[in-house]
Symmetry: C2
Subunit: 261 residues, 2 copies
């Protein structure tokens, strides 16, 4: 082909998707060159495709000319499954109303937790998680709550890898983590103390439908108030129970959460 060998035949669609996929929470705005580099698409090709995406509002530009995800994609994204989130939202609200803390809902996706909803007021928001964000499972409350109820083979596979260690308090020893998970199962809730972020600690409970952990409900507070965590478990547990009930009744098996294994 003109200018050189076409690199092994990528479809146009794959290039468009690669361009979109170049954005993530750590790279919310990119220059055209960055975008081309990150997506592995030739600069001139990226230029053309980006123009088309921009015209459709799939991408937009910040005031300094960098590219971002556009409103149209946000709008489309709102049409994604989300049955569980919709049902759960009022209950998160309830927990927030009775505690005033940061409450969030997460599901497992692959080997990570994906935060699907979040309710927060104005006080002490250490921004540990953001809606649409991902974190590893073992250093987070919701992650431990979910992991503890996964089948054994899954947990084994999870523990077999080298685990990230965001803070010195993170538990990464397989044996110790396995024991921790056992106690989560025994108690019905998970606690963390500065395992993901220094300065914050959390409590979380799983949402169990037919014994399977479809989501987890968590709460995050400043670590100097760690003693209050126990007081917060009961409201969480109650809300999770209600959400589970609503999920059992509400949806007759419609695929509502993500579920890559």
């Amino acid at each position: 082909m003109a200018g050189g060998a076409r690199e092994g035949g990528r479809s146009v669609t794959s290039k468009v998707l690669a361009i979109l996929g170049a954005f993530d929470s750590a790279h919310q705005q990119l220059t055209l060159s960055d975008l081309a580099r990150r997506s592995g698409v030739a600069l001139s090709t990226a230029h053309r495709l980006v123009a088309e995406l921009e015209a459709w509002q799939a991408l937009s530009r910040t005031s300094d000319g960098r590219l971002r995800i556009g409103m149209r994609l946000w709008e489309l994204g709102q049409l994604a499954p989300g049955r569980l989130q919709d049902m759960a939202h009022p209950w998160l609200q309830e927990v927030f109303a009775s505690t005033g803390e940061n409450v969030h809902l997460a599901v497992r996706d692959g080997l990570e937790v994906l935060y699907v909803d979040k309710v927060h007021g104005r006080r002490a928001v250490p921004i540990v998680s953001r809606t649409g964000g991902r974190l590893p499972m073992h250093p987070t409350g919701v992650g431990k709550a979910l992991l503890a109820y996964e089948p054994d083979w899954f947990v084994q596979a999870y523990l077999a890898r080298k685990l990230e260690r965001p803070t010195p308090h993170t538990i990464i020893e397989p044996g110790r983590l396995a024991r921790e998970l056992a106690s989560v199962r025994a108690q019905g809730y998970a606690l963390t103390y500065e395992e993901m972020t220094l300065g914050t600690c959390s409590a979380a409970v799983p949402v169990l439908v037919d014994g399977r952990p479809v989501a987890a409900l968590g709460i995050v507070i400043a670590s100097r108030r760690a003693r209050e965590l126990h007081r917060l478990v009961e409201p969480l547990r109650e809300a999770a129970e209600q959400i589970a009930r609503a999920a059992r009744e509400g949806s007759g098996g419609e695929g509502h959460g993500p579920g890559r294994a």
Copy 2:
């Protein structure tokens, strides 16, 4: 070309976008054939593109095989601008906490209002609006609050069209609507009584930054409780003022809302 004339040369990208664009709140799940029809893409082409989109989780399938927007697009959508929404959320929360009603935040996009955030509890949710949803401006509280502060040429253009009439209470006479908007400006808030949906009424206030209506904050309740609306205006106004202040300080002109004219 094989099979016949290529219809005027549409780019691959435009087809992909047409496929995504075929989904909207009234068509959240589609069969492949529907999708091909609605997007104007040949069936076999749609089949191939959809397969690629599905593999990337841009689309997913419901249990009965129909296609939906996938989790990956939801995730991407969460990276869209949203500065204003993020800042505003705690204040919506505050209004909800003090009133217990359905509170939502909307911006203008073209000739419609786009709902960008919503907080609701378990009681009386007539689901008038959904996050990511659009409604015409004149029958909604937030719409009137926004329209009242738009420049005159814009309002004229809006009124010049034939206006939809979702209920018999909807005001569609240009003269009457113009007078209504004048009184919104005078009072600083807008009220509606069953103008969008029978059985519900609403109050809304604009969020004004440098005199320009960047968003509107609204509340919806059952119409049998219409007398309580006045009581709800003050909390709304207060929250809107705080949001406006935060917006003025927080962002130095970054493009955060949509703004097609």
